[in-house]
Structures are given as structure tokens and as C-alpha cells.
Symmetry: C2
Subunit: 723 residues, 2 copies
């Protein structure tokens, strides 16, 4: 049901929101407490360059503007409608917009799906209607839109506050969060360009806006506050493409939502909405902030300074403790604070006080002068020893603030004028009576924080982003050797015959073989004699496992018997399993036993898949045994997996060292594990009826020898409609 | 060489610093840039209630005060000397102080041990001299001292800034950090009482100050900024005692110092200075902040609000997004945001706007009035459903700030007056043009932050502190059944015979048996025939391990042979080990082989010990195998271990669930592991010559069956002098 627009059409259709020649405010009002009043106040206050047309059936003039009783009465063209009328009137206003051929509308009004009940059905009607008319709609239940481009100066929100103008765009699912950013922006010297409160996003989504801002030359950095993610596969595609040129910083609420309710497979039990969100963002290079403060700090840093070309940080301070905390943070963030070259130290010594520390951190001592600050900043910013500079200043007296600030800015200016334009500078400014000072050198805003740990963190994220940005996009391999028809048939037949549930051992193994996923050979016996025959064919020692389409946790109940060395051991094992089931009153759940060669070499790993209702298949990788379940050392990715994703999942677990040769053990065949991940991704993308899957354990063998899946479980259910 | 004072003597000797009747400023000056000038400015500016006496050989009056050429010329008693003269003059000034019988001195002057070289020897002479004279000295290289008690109003620092007056004391090893706290205090509404910059702490240490503040009724909360820890055992004893009545919040620099250089045991390799610091703080209940921001936020919260009695948090907001972020943080911090009772919801519904959310978070919607805010605050603060309240406000327009703030404060006042005095209230205030507003209701400061995640974090720390505070102190058990004489003799003999190095297998086992630490029986064979005899005595299967006082990592080189089922297997294993050593050209390193019963039951755990140069013995506990080494899932404690410490170490590992019965396995005998930890603590406290120790693996058996140490290594070295 999603209207599909081409990229160009989408961008074109959003232009009236950002560059309208005329804006009609429907619900304009003279009552100061009303949103209709505040909208007019905002539009007038921002000196909007177009025409403002109030619409109100009971007035002919509001706020000095000619007012029309309805849209139909307006003689001229209207490019954008901003609607703030009671919810019950909204549908007819939308009809009016269509009649007036208005291409875009912002619907401030609340009382739709967020209130449940009849609001939800009203929202459905609204969606249907704007789709039918082809009107682009932002909202409902939103706070409006700003475009601070001096060419338009559009503030179509109900806050009169205009933040500094710059090159940051923000889309927010919460009006309050948009307000919080606007409120903080002045103090942070954070220059904004566009702000869109998307509300319930019945039509225009964050994905649409990403495409718009991708081509907007005013935008350098994109901020998103999200409570959900609309159409995750599209988000992933767009975000990865846009992120290669413009960093996308996201604050996602609901990160700590409790895990999903108990599920039949371990993967499902361990996979949470948070895991899916984190995976999605990591896979498409989105920069995730964990708190509002980090979100704002990242925005300030990314929008004002280039990304450093390396990890070597210079610290210039007048104060021991805060300088040490900054150096600590650099180290914790994977940055270095290298000793300066002898030449740089001599240069500093020539003008700094005798007691100054010169190695790095450079400590100019409490009372250094304007001139000393200027020359120290210049020296460090032009030094080849460093990739970025952090200045940490604690004032001793308020009257020192001005000369120190002037000195710092002069040092930056001189270095920039000398051609050192690319090295980032960050400030930590702790100055009595002057905490909110901002620093702008020519048109360059210097990100300024109050705590010495923050610049190190932001620089570290910037280095990581730059690394991601420079790597080519991942590739989703297509395997032509797979037999998808067989795999689909097995699932369909199992579901048709028995309904939702686990595949039998035989079905599971046949399906994996059809996908060329390396499952260990083995056959099923239904009697002790059969089991012995199979064991003799395979060769001792063997492993024996209960097969049952009902019992999932076989190990716990004694259904797995390992290292069976001879015929007698096989007979004993068979009767042990039988007896256990008998005593549990579950003998009818026993389909037989699987007899397999006993594997003991290699490192045990596991791969699993579960489906998130929103994000679709979520693939997990970890070491076998307790690592995944107790220690939670798992990596998740959403599908489709790229080759990069598969590689990153394996490298991302804490226990990775165990796979690269540890304590005299050989390394394992990483390429083979990657291939299992990638083939599995293909499988679950092709067959939505597979709801859960565990390959556990998998024995990973030395390079060139591949890996062997020793146990596997697959669950089928009716395919869910795709979102 | 540390002067030992009783608690009462120590406290008494520090009084002149905090309540001097007269202060002499040696090095007082008319030059505005000098510290001597600034000190006079500060003392006068704070309206010090005692007498200020400048000392300067070249003046008879400075800043309107009668000035004396030397201390000897002052006719009256001097209680405190504040010294700011060049380093070279300091020793003779100290002599003058002694002659004048001045009991206490603050030495601002820098140029001592912090500069190395001759500064270090000057500091040694200074220390010797103040000890000899019995003068208490703060500094050198410090920023001074403040006591804001209105009865004294002493600012003996070189900043003129006076922070708000309250009940927080701070000791800082960095003058800059003291300044940073003072600078931030006004904005944070953080009321200070005492501030001491301890500098190089040649005499007065943080430990001394903790004892002083323990008995100071003006002090409720103690902040420490530390770069090192003087006399860690004393710190631990004092901090635990003081912390039971006054929370101690620490910011420790140098937390990310790189790990110690490679060492012979895994424990040593994994133990870092950070691990020791974290362990020490956790063991004595100190509240550790990770950043300056957290330090200040904790101080603000702990000094102004009582600790909540539970984890049920109410959130009152006017703004969706920030409210959601706050709720997210509560959940991430282990707090709950319970749905309010029907009664509370009805009460709220009676006065809030129709669209308000009532369950919790309570969302009053953007434009709620002063009255609505007041009543909502009152309702939530008096509700039995909640243990604490967080108010998150984002202003839509600047002109709404005043009524909302007034409403919030009125709500708090009404609830407090109705007797609801104990429930903490925290604010997140994001208000256009009004970010720095502080909230004080009668004399109660409401901690106010700019980001919605912080209050949840502070409340969570407060709940954890309160839990610690209410538990009784741990007990260090004395084991009367141990044979310390034998243990000591083994170490001494080994060191005398062979110098520093590893004990032999036999020495190791005898020593552990002397401490009643349950090591698995076994005996050493030097030939295959001997080995077979031992194996037959023990009963098959057996394990065989190379014994060598030189080769430490036996497993990697094939020196451990397990599951030997019969005589032939034992012979084969013996010759395999011999061959390996022969091929490595290390046959002479083979002392023999240890033959032990083969254990396979139980869960593998490990215990280790290394000595930190500053903190002394550091004991580690973790699961065996790769968990400790690759995944770093270890818990550390400094010795002596209390019963609480031992219990907390075991419960603290991520893999703890594996010890409590997992997937049908039995639980393990936790008490037995605790006892090994405690006996080991006794051992290494008693024998400082033991430098490293690994018990790995230990098989932990089911409850009542104890545990068995299967492999052990102990290294001896010359005992280090105690610090």
C-alpha cells in the first residue's frame, strides 16, 4: 500500500514544504493561546519571504494580514497549507486543499493514531485521502517545519525561537525533541538549516526527507530523532547512500525496551528490538547517539569541523586535572596523545612560562597570557605531529576569560590563514561567569563543551565515521548453486501437513543441503539395531541425538549422547534416550535418533535467525556453548547480509580471538562461516515462512577445511505480509 | 616513615586550617599578577572573620593591612601560614613557622616533586622538616583552601570566586579541578562548605581530610578528585567507615592507563591499575564517577536530595520525546516507571488537559498552566505508587518559563508541607533563554540538569549507595587451622636456594595444603615406570602434567595429557612429553610429571593473585578456560578480602549463572570457592614474598562437595617494603 515514487519525484514533491511562495494557515487565530496564533507569529517573526495567507471563516484580517474564510476564497495560488483546526474538521480541509490544488500540507492537529480508537480510523481515512489526491502531507500531530535558508526564512512551527543558521537538518518524531534541539542550539553554536517534525508520518517519512536533504546543498549533517523506523529496508538503502556524503546522526528512543517474550529458539530469546535497531544502524553507517547530550555534541562537532585524518590528538590546557581527564578519555576512546617532536617542544618553550609542560598535554600553567595562548594554539595546530587539537581551559578569574578567548581565536585564525585548514579544533571551556561563550573564527564555529571528556569522544566517533565512509559498500552475493524450489517445497509441505512448528530432522537436513549449507551427514534410526548398523557404516566413534518435531531442548533432557565408541555403547545410548522419554511420558514425541560421526575438532560456533515484526530477519552469530546464552556475546545483523556484514559479525564478537588461533590451536576457516551466514541470509529472504532457525553447534575447522553444522532447527509459520 | 596519629589527634591538628583566628600570608604582594596579591584579595573578598596578616620584607602596609617584614616580627599569635614565596625560600619560611609556633601551613608554591630532579629532593627535605617540627602542611603545589562556614568565611585560595554555600566538601589533587568545581557550582546550585587543594600532599592527605570531615557537622557529602591514592589500606578503612554516614564521590584520573607489561601469570597480565582502583572503591562503598560531568551531577544529587527508598520512578513531562528518553534511561538503569494507580490517574484527570497522558510518564501536554503543573507535581510527589519524581520540561516559548517554574516549585512546597519530605525530586529543564535556572524550594535545592537521562542515572546510583550503606561491614575471617610457618618456610627456602622464580610443583602443593586450600592429590614421577605405579595407586583414568620450575605455560607446549585410561596410555603420554621437550631442547627443564586422578565433573573456575606496586595483592576470580583470558570476565578485589568481598566477586562475573545450575547441571559449592578466596587472601597478606599466584583450573563441585584445585603456580620474589 506504500505509494512508490522515484527519487526525483519524491524530491520534487517535497520542494513546496521547503520553498513555498505562499503559505496558507488554516485555523489562523487572534487568540494568543491558540496554535493558529502562534503559527502566524512564527511566520511573521522569521520574516518569511513569501506570502502568508490566514484562513479563518470568522475574520477578514488577522495580525495585519488579509484573511480568507476558506481556501476556495483565496484568489491566488497556495503552495503550502499549514493546518491547525480541530481533528474533526481535518478531512474536509484536505478536500479543500485538493480542490485548491495545493501540493503540500503540514498538519499540526493532534488526536489521530496516537490516541488510539477513533483517532486511528481517522488517520486511516486521512492517509487514504492524501494518497488519492496526491497531496504530500507532513504530520498529523506535529510541531511544524523550519527552513532557515536566508532565501526563504520559513518558520512554520509554533515556537517563535530561531536557532543559529547553519547546515544541519533535523527530522524528529517528537515535537518536544525538536524544541529541545532548537533551545540548545544557541548555546552550542549549532547552526541549523531545516527542521521537520514528522509527527505520525502518515505520508512524508524520515526516508523521504533523507532523499530530499541528500540533494540540498545547504545541508551538511542530518540529525534524526526516531521512535520507530518506517520501512527499515528502504531506510537502510537510503541511509547508506546518503551517509557516504552527509553524516547521519540518530537518537533512537525505546532502546531499552524489554526483550521479546520467551521464544522457542535461543536466537529469538536473545534478539531484541534494540539488537535489530543497533544492527541496522551499524550496517548502514548511521552514527547512533545514546543520550540527548551525545546527540547534540555529535551534531555540533560533525557540522562544524572536518573529520580528522588520524588518531593523534594534541591537548593544550592551563590546568592539570581537566587536561589529565581529557588525555584519559582520548586513551579510552582509542586515540593517542603522542609526545610532540623536539622541534615543536622547542618552539613552545621559546614563549611559554618556564614551568609549562611541553610534551603533550601541553600545560601553559594557570596564568598564561593572550599572546602565549595564541602562539601555543598556532604551534600545535600547524604541527605535523597531530591530527586534531583539543583545548581545555579552566579560568582562574573571570577577568582572564576575555584575553584567553581572544588568544585562542587568534591562534586558530593564524593557523587557518597559513593554510592549516583541515585539522579539527575542539574546546572545553570552564570559565567562571562565562560558561556559555561560543567561539567563531571567521565563519568557522569551534565546537565548545563544558566537560573535557566530550571532545575526545566526538573525535573518536568522527574517525570511525570517516573510516566507514571511505570503505566501499558491501555486496549481497547471489548463489546460483542453491535449490530454492526444494527448500520452499519442504517448508510449504511441512506447514500444510502439520501447521506452524519445527521441521523434522530429515526435513531440516534436506533443506540445508539444498542451500549448500554444510550440515554433517547422518541418518535416522528408529531402533537400536538400526542405530548400530548406521554407526558401523559411519565408523566409530559416533554421536546419537533424539529426533523429535516436538522436543526442542534435547540436551537438557538427556537426548544427546556423545562419543559412543562401540556397538554396545550405541545400544545403551538408544535405550537411555528411550527410557528418559518413557519416564517423562513423552515416548510418542520420539521420531527416532540421528546417528552422526562424532566431531571433536574445531571451534564451536553458532548461527541463528529470528524475525523481528518490524525489521524482518535478524541473523545472529556467536561462539557455541554458554557464550551466546549466558555471556550474550552475540552479533546481530538484519538481512540481506552483505559480505562486509558477514565479516563484521564474525570479527565483532568478544571471543573473536578464539577463531584466529589461540594457545596453539589452529585458526578457523572464517570464509566458510561467512558463506554460511550469507547463504542463510539468502534462504530467509526467499522464504518468509521460516520464522526461527538455529544452527548450533557448528564446528569451525582450520582454513580450507570449512565448517560442519552438527545440529540444526528450523521453524515454519504462515508467512507474514511484508511491511 | 608515615607519622601515625590517632583519629582524635589528626582531627584536632587539622582544625587550624579550617578555623584559624589569624592567617599570615607570606609573600603577600601589591603586584596584581602575583599569587600573594590574589590571596589577600580572596581573604578580604570572602570577609574572613579572623585577622589577615601580610608578611613582606619590603612593605609596611598592603591592601590596607599592617604588614610585617617577617613572621618573627608579628607580635600576636598566628594560627595558619599561607605561603607563596619562591621554592628556594620555602625551607627557611618553614623554620620561621616553627620558631613562631604556627601549627598549620598551606604551601601554594610549586617547583617540588612535580618537576622532578632537585624539586624532588627539596620536597624530601620539606617533608622531613614539617615532620620534625610537627607542623601540619597542605601542599606544596596547591591552590589553597576554602571554608565557607558563615562563622569563618575563609577563602585562602587564589580564586576570588565564592561558590554557593552548602554542605559539600571537596579535596582535589588538581587545583584546576577545584576551580572547575567552583566554576560549575553556581550554575548547578551545588552548595559547598570546604574545598582543599592537596597538591603534592607531603603531609596532609585525603585520608586525613576524610577523618576531619567525618566529624564536621557542616559536611553531608564528600567529593574527591584523585590522581593517586595515598596508603590504600588506610583509605579503604576510613572510606568505608565515613561512607556509612556521608557518601564519598570520587573522580579518579588515570583510569585508562595501559595494562601492566607482560607478566608470567595470566592474572598479572589481566590486572591493571584500573582494576585495582575499581576494586578498592567498590569494596569500600565509594561512589565512582567516570567523567567530570557525572562527578558534578552526583554531587548535586547526593547533596540536595535524600536517597530514594525504592526504584519506582514517576516522570512528569510536557513533552513526548524527552519524557521517553527519561523512561528509557530509568529502564536501562534498573529503575521502574510503574503505571500509576487508578486513584492517582483520576486525580490527575480532574485538572489536566483532556489529551494528557496519565499512566506514567504523565504528559501534561505542551501548554499546561502554572496551576496544572503545581497540582500534577503535588499529586505525584504525594502518591504512594512512587519512590522518586523526575520532572522533564521543554519550554515552547520563553514566556511560559516563569509560570511553569513557579508551578513546579509550588507543587513541591505543598507536598513537603503536607509531610512528604523524603521523596527525591529531580528536574530536567530545557527552557529557551533560561537554561541555567536553579530551583530552590524553601532551603531545599532541586537538582536540575539539562538532559533527561541524567536524573535516572543519579537516582540509580543513590539507590545502590543506600543498599550498600544499609548492609553491615564485611568481616575478614581468621583461619586458625592454617600452618603459616610451613608456608613461609617453603617460600623463604625457595627464594634462598634459587632466587626469584616459580615454586616447584611439590612446593606449591605442600604450601597450599598447609593453608588448607583444597588442591588435588597427586605425586611426581620421574620415569614412565614410576608414573604407571602412581597411576595404578590412584586408579584410572589419570591426568599427567609436566612439572618444571622453568616452563610455565605447559598446556600450549603439550605438557598436559588428560584422560589416560591404562598403563600403556600412561607410558605413551610420558614419552610424548619427553619427546616434546627433547625436540625443543629443553629436556633439562623437566623435573618430572605430576600424576593426578582425572577430574571431569564440576564447573571450571580460576583464582589468581598479583601484586600492584601501590595497592598490594589483587585477587582475581573468573570462570576457567577462555572466559578470563579472552573475554575478560574477571572480578578483582584488593586484600584483605572480607566475606562480602568474596561473595561479591563470585556473583559479579557475567558467567555467574553457570555456577547456579544451568541447563540441567547441578549448582556448585559457592561457599567452598569463597573459602579458597579468603584463605588465599590470608596467605598473600601474610607472605609478601609471594608475587604471583594462579589456581587454574579449579573444579567447583556441587554444594557440600567443595572444589578441587587441579593446577597451581606460585611465584616468589624478594618481599617489597610496605608502602
Amino acid at each position: 500500500m506504500i505509494a512508490v515514487r522515484s527519487l526525483a519525484d519524491n524530491v520534487e514533491s517535497l520542494k513546496p514544504f521547503f520553498y513555498p511562495g505562499s503559505v496558507a494557515v488554516i485555523g489562523a487565530s487572534r487568540e494568543e493561546a491558540s496554535i493558529g496564533y502562534r503559527l502566524l507569529e512564527s511566520l511573521q517573526g522569521s520574516h518569511f519571504t513569501g506570502t502568508i495567507i490566514p484562513v479563518n471563516p470568522h475574520a477578514t484580517e488577522i495580525a495585519g494580514l488579509r484573511t480568507f474564510p476558506s481556501l476556495q476564497d483565496i484568489p491566488s495560488q497556495v503552495d503550502l497549507a499549514v493546518i491547525a483546526v480541530p481533528a474533526g474538521l481535518v478531512l474536509s480541509i484536505i478536500d479543500d486543499c485538493a480542490a485548491k490544488q495545493i501540493p503540500a500540507a503540514i498538519l499540526i492537529t493532534a488526536g489521530f493514531a496516537e490516541t488510539g480508537g477513533i483517532g486511528t480510523s481517522l488517520e486511516e481515512q486521512l492517509r487514504e485521502r492524501v494518497r488519492r489526491y496526491g497531496i504530500r502531507l507532513i504530520g498529523p500531530n506535529c510541531f511544524g517545519l523550519m527552513n532557515l535558508d536566508p532565501a526563504i526564512r520559513l518558520n512554520a512551527t509554533y515556537t517563535p525561537v530561531i536557532p543559529p543558521v547553519g547546515h544541519v537538518a533535523i527530522a524528529s518524531e517528537s515535537g518536544g525533541m525538536g524544541l529541545a534541539v532548537v533551545t540548545a542550539a544557541t548555546r552550542l553554536n549549532l547552526g541549523l538549516s531545516s527542521l521537520v517534525s514528522v509527527g505520525n508520518h502518515v505520508d512524508v517519512t524520515v526516508n523521504d526527507l533523507l532523499e530530499y536533504w541528500e540533494q540540498d546543498p545547504n545541508i551538511d549533517v542530518i540529525l534524526l530523532y526516531l521512535e520507530t523506523i518506517v520501512d527499515p529496508p528502504r531506510f537502510r538503502r537510503i541511509a547508506e547512500r546518503v551517509g557516504k556524503t552527509k553524516p547521519i546522526v540518530v537518537l533512537k528512543a525505546g532502546r531499552t525496551q524489554a526483550g521479546q517474550s520467551a521464544a522457542g529458539s535461543h536466537t529469538a530469546a536473545l534478539a531484541t528490538n534494540k539488537a535489530a535497531v543497533d544492527a541496522l544502524f551499524a550496517q548502514c553507517g548511521v552514527i547512533q547517539a545514546k543520550t540527548l547530550e551525545e546527540f547534540l555534541a555529535l551534531a555540533t562537532g560533525f557540522s562544524n569541523q572536518l573529520r580528522p585524518l588520524g588518531r593523534r590528538i594534541g591537548i593544550l590546557t592551563n590546568s592539570g586535572g581537566p587536561g589529565v581527564l581529557c588525555a584519559d578519555s582520548c586513551s579510552a576512546e582509542g586515540l593517542t596523545v603522542p609526545e610532540l617532536s623536539k622541534a615543536a617542544q622547542s618552539a613552545l618553550a621559546s614563549f611559554l612560562p618556564r614551568m609549562a609542560a611541553l610534551k603533550n598535554p601541553v600545560d601553559v600553567i594557570g596564568f598564561a597570557s593572550e599572546e602565549q595562548h595564541a602562539r601555543a594554539v598556532e604551534t600545535m595546530l600547524t604541527s605535523d605531529d597531530l591530527d586534531a587539537l583539543i583545548i581545555v581551559h579552566v579560568s582562574v578569574r573571570a577577568k582572564d576569560n576575555e584575553p584567553v578567548a581572544t588568544g585562542i581565536m587568534r591562534g586558530i585564525r593564524v593557523a587557518r590563514q597559513a593554510g592549516h585548514t583541515k585539522k579539527p579544533v575542539y574546546l572545553c571551556w570552564i570559565a567562571e561567569g562565562d560558561l556559555d561563550r561560543t567561539f567563531t573564527v571567521d565563519s568557522e564555529a569551534i565546537p565548545t563543551y563544558r566537560h573535557p571528556e566530550i571532545p575526545a569522544h566526538i573525535i573518536s566517533r568522527a574517525v570511525a565515521y570517516e573510516t566507514w565512509r571511505q570503505q566501499p559498500c558491501g555486496r549481497v552475493p547471489t548463489y546460483t548453486d542453491v535449490d530454492l524450489a526444494t527448500a520452499k517445497e519442504i517448508c510449504t509441505n511441512a506447514f500444510t501437513d502439520r501447521g506452524a512448528g519445527w521441521l523434522t530432522t530429515k526435513e531440516t537436513y534436506t533443506l540445508l543441503q539444498a542451500m549448500k549449507i554444510p550440515v554433517v551427514a547422518g541418518d535416522i534410526a528408529t531402533s537400536a539395531d538400526d542405530a548400530v548398523k548406521l554407526a558401523q557404516d559411519i565408523g566409530y566413534p559416533v554421536a546419537m541425538k533424539l529426533t523429535s518435531h516436538r522436543i526442542v531442548h534435547k540436551t537438557e533432557m538427556g537426548g544427546v549422547q556423545l562419543n559412543l565408541a562401540d556397538d554396545q555403547a550405541v545400544r545403551d545410548a538408544f535405550s537411555r534416550i528411550r527410557t528418559i522419554l518413557e519416564q517423562a511420558g513423552k515416548l510418542d514425541a520420539m521420531d527416532g535418533v540421528l546417528v552422526q560421526p562424532m566431531l571433536s575438532d574445531g571451534v564451536e560456533v553458532m548461527i541463528g535467525m529470528t524475525r523481528d515484526p518490524l525489521f524482518g530477519p535478524l541473523i545472529a552469530f556467536g561462539l557455541g556453548g554458554i557464550h551466546a546464552e549466558i555471556l550474550g556475546d552475540l552479533q546481530f545483523c538484519v538481512t540481506p547480509l552483505t559480505d562486509h556484514d558477514a565479516e563484521a559479525m564474525i570479527r565483532g564478537i568478544k571471543g573473536y580471538r578464539l577463531l584466529t588461533g589461540y594457545r596453539g590451536q589452529p585458526a578457523v576457516d572464517l570464509k566458510a562461516i561467512e558463506e554460511v551466514l550469507l547463504r542463510l541470509s539468502r534462504l530467509v529472504e526467499e522464504i518468509p515462512g521460516i520464522s526461527e532457525l538455529d544452527l548450533n553447534p557448528i564446528f569451525a575447522l582450520p582454513p580450507g577445511q570449512g565448517c560442519r553444522i552438527v545440529d540444526a532447527r528450523i521453524r515454519v509459520q504462515p508467512s507474514q505480509p511484508s511491511v
